[in-house]
């Protein structure tokens, strides 16, 4: 009898196990082998892509959003918007029936409305807002996009209409509304945390309207998300999403190979060849929204002379740099904006590599015997420049051919940024990855007169160029803006404040089980819309 009982208990246990296994098999869990830990879960407080991947790109929505895999702006939490004829007033019509996440730590009692929009922006804007100082209260992106001076007021017209009044017209404003810092939070949740005297928790346990619900975060190890069943655009195709934090690129690759992860970012360039031949790996690639450049300090002699800048531009063999430094993962850049951005002027002709022409021009500029200078090389690896030291060495060799002797200088990264802001360099290598797909985000931020002493490392303030980009910001019509930016690119090429070197190609290795992943031009990872094959 005892034996019978034992056998039946064992049988039931086996049955349960089989059921559990089959239930588990039906659950689609996508494992993303992420490269680092998020700093927190409120995107407005941070600037790193790693944090945005873990927060805004899965948990939150914005009023306007970028269509997945493109820089095209589509309606998000706002179904439509109107811009006043003077370009100063933006009226957003909000989406109805949008639900916030329900979690063990917060159960919303109302749907998304205008109060949430006002809270999300006013927290960053108003120094007296009860949340302004919470979690360090530093809103660098908001400040970096000039929002504190640009936004005059935000008003709630009714529950589903919000009016932003600006201090001056600003065409990229809608694109800015699609950026990570513009993620919409729950005002109700914020109030609840404030009443409970735990406002810090608001930034650590996120509540959004996005396609995934936050489940848990084990520091430096794992972030877990669950698909949000009531997502306004329809439930995600995967059921669970796991970020398995793995800082080393080689180990990420081994995890992908061993089937422990489905997708990994930032592969080692050296592993790309093996990935391409791996039958289980699908290696996607896309031109990155970035530019790597060499900036001349135009405030310093001899770089204040345009002929010198042009001569030195001609003397650099960009193709050789692309082959040696990017190993095929880049394209020669001729404009300061990448070809993926609208208004890219393909008619611009780049300086052709010619040692003789460069020598001639340098001699015309009064430097027939060349001169001594420096090249600053970044100490870090970036998609727009995977090996700045190697690149600097190649440029050094090229310039030597025309009699220009350059010394290579490098500092620790923080020091490099600080000293280059203070314009201590003569020439320096740096780059930029776009934030919102708008040409203004490259041209004004990096080359405008207002950016001198800031991100304009060439210290170049040239009125004809600056007038064009300033005018373009005031115009709402994209065709007209395109013309202005195209002209600006021509002026830029003539004046040569930079040598535009390369736009990198971004690679995303993933398991062949991953279906419909689209590379984000902004360098992020968006898992809504992605599916897993059995």
């Amino acid at each position: 009898m005892k034996w019978h009982k034992l056998v039946s208990v064992a049988g039931i246990a086996v049955l349960f196990c089989m059921l559990a296994v089959s239930a588990q098999a039906k659950t689609k869990t996508l494992v993303f082998c992420s490269e680092g830990s998020p700093e927190g879960f409120t995107p407005a407080l941070y600037t790193s892509g790693t944090t945005f991947d873990a927060s805004s790109r899965q948990l939150f929505d914005k009023l306007a959003m970028f269509e997945r895999g493109t820089t095209k702006i589509v309606p998000g939490l706002a179904t439509s918007w109107e811009i006043s004829p003077d370009g100063m007033v933006y009226t957003f019509h909000l989406r109805k029936g949008v639900k916030f996440h329900t979690t063990p730590y917060f159960k919303p009692t109302r749907e998304f409305n205008a109060d949430d929009v006002i809270f999300s922006f006013w927290r960053q804007h108003d120094k007296n807002h009860p949340y302004n100082k919470v979690s360090g209260g530093s809103y660098e992106y908001y400040a970096g996009m000039s929002m504190p001076t640009l936004i005059k007021s935000i008003e709630k017209k009714d529950d589903y209409t919000v009016v932003f009044t600006l201090t001056k017209p600003n065409s990229p404003f809608i694109a800015n509304m699609a950026m990570d810092f513009a993620s919409i939070h729950s005002a109700e949740y914020a109030n609840k945390m404030l009443v409970a005297k735990t406002p810090d928790e608001f930034d650590q346990k996120p509540i959004g309207t996005g396609p995934f619900v936050f489940v848990s975060y084990q520091k430096d190890s794992t972030i877990r998300y669950q698909a949000f069943d009531q997502y306004w655009a329809g439930r995600a195709k995967i059921d669970k999403l796991v970020f398995s934090i793995t800082p080393d690129a080689s180990v990420r690759y081994q995890k992908l190979k061993a089937g422990e992860a489905h997708l990994m970012p930032y592969p080692n360039p050296a592993d790309l060849a093996a990935m391409k031949t791996d039958a289980n790996i699908n290696l996607m690639e896309m031109e990155g929204l970035n530019v790597g450049y060499l900036a001349f300090n135009t405030k310093k002699e001899p770089f204040s002379n345009v002929k010198v800048r042009q001569a030195l531009s001609m003397a650099i063999n960009k193709k050789a740099i692309l082959e040696a430094v990017f190993q095929g993962s880049g394209k020669v850049a001729k404009n300061p904006i990448p070809p993926t951005i609208w208004s890219y002027n393909d008619a611009v002709k780049d300086y052709e590599y010619s040692v003789d022409a460069a020598k001639k021009l340098l001699s015309e500029a009064g430097f027939a015997n060349g001169f001594e200078t420096d090249i600053w090389a970044m100490p870090v690896q970036r998609p727009y420049n995977p090996n700045a030291k190697r690149m600097a060495e190649m440029i050094q060799e090229d310039w030597k051919k025309i009699g220009v002797n350059a010394k290579i200088i490098s500092y620790e990264w923080g020091e490099y940024l600080k000293r280059s802001m203070a314009a201590e360099h003569q020439t320096l290598l740096l780059g930029w990855t776009g934030d919102n797909g708008d040409p203004d985000n490259f041209l004004a931020v990096l080359l405008g007169c207002d950016a001198v002493g800031n991100a304009n490392r060439s210290q170049w303030c040239y009125k004809p160029f600056d007038d064009l980009i300033k005018k373009a910001v005031l115009v709402s019509d994209q065709k007209e803006r395109t013309k202005l930016y195209e002209q600006a690119q021509v002026v830029f090429k003539e004046q040569a404040p930079w040598v535009t070197i390369a736009h990198s190609v971004v690679f995303k290795p993933m398991s062949k089980k991953v279906v419909d992943f689209k590379i984000d031009p902004f360098g992020g990872h968006v898992f809504y819309g992605v599916d897993l094959k059995e």
């Binding site: 588990q24 927190g40 430096d220 796991v242 934090i245 180990v251 061993a258 990264w413 020091e415 991100a455």
Partner: protein, 336 residues
Amino acid sequence: MVQFFFKRFFHVFPAFIGVTLLTFSLIHLIPGDPVELRAGERGIDPARHAEIKAEMGLDKPLYVQYFRYIGNVFKGDLGKSYVTKKPIVEEFFTLFPATLELSFCAMIFAVLFGLPAGIIAGVKRGTAFDHTIMAASLTGYSMPIFWWGLLMIIFFSVFLGWTPVAGRLSAIMWIDMDTGFMIIDSLRSDEPGAFRSALSHLILPAIVLGTIPLAVIARMTRSSMLEVLKEDYVRTAKAKGLSGRRVILVHALRNAMIPVITVIGLQTGTLLAGAILTETIFAWPGVGKWILESIGRRDYPAIQGGILIIATLIIFVNLGVDVLYGIINPRIRYNS
């Protein structure tokens, strides 16, 4: 014994102050600006830069910053991370169980294999076994951890498929972390297979981290045994007709253990602080990796606080070792 303990205990204070002073000076000596690093290529407006520095207290002279810091330390406040804005103590103790778990397993592995290997090599001096052990331990000691770790991953995880590549638990298993020790939490969870998964994730990192201590322990045990085996009392014990095993394990080993325990103590300290590479390769969420990343970000409170807590722990491990000497060898106790 009590007097001996207190004497040793009072030696802790100068070491503690020394650690705070050294960490503070070193991190302020290395170039880099946490505010600039945060701003990145975008740069930051000089006025805003000054404002943030003032908020962080970095605008004050260094000695003021140090005294403010040390004052807060004595109040039990190690500050908040510049990056996550969370209290350092909370950050540290969230990650510490992972480091402790890994270090403990690595040490068990090192002692379990290092001690017997050293004893046998010492007793069988000059034999093939002795030479093999010494050659293997030298190789183990000289092995670059990063390379060794990757080699193990490629062979055991990718090629043979025996162990997981990295992490503490299979990513598809969702368990609640109550204690922070994965072995305990996985055992308590309802997730089927979690405990097994946690154990299998520990194997490679424990072996990689335990390799150097194993080599050191084996070599130290061998040389210490060789010394002791020459002593008169061992000869006497042998002459009295005691069995070889008794002579080695009771008479020789106990006396040979003093330097070995010192090494184990020192290595335990090194493991707590030095798991940085192993933690990075195996994506092990411990304090070593956290401190390394904090240095990269110039997160001063995290670097200072993290090193201070680890140094304090090491000081106490060594205090424990000192006390252990006294227990093992009463002469040390009486002489001091």
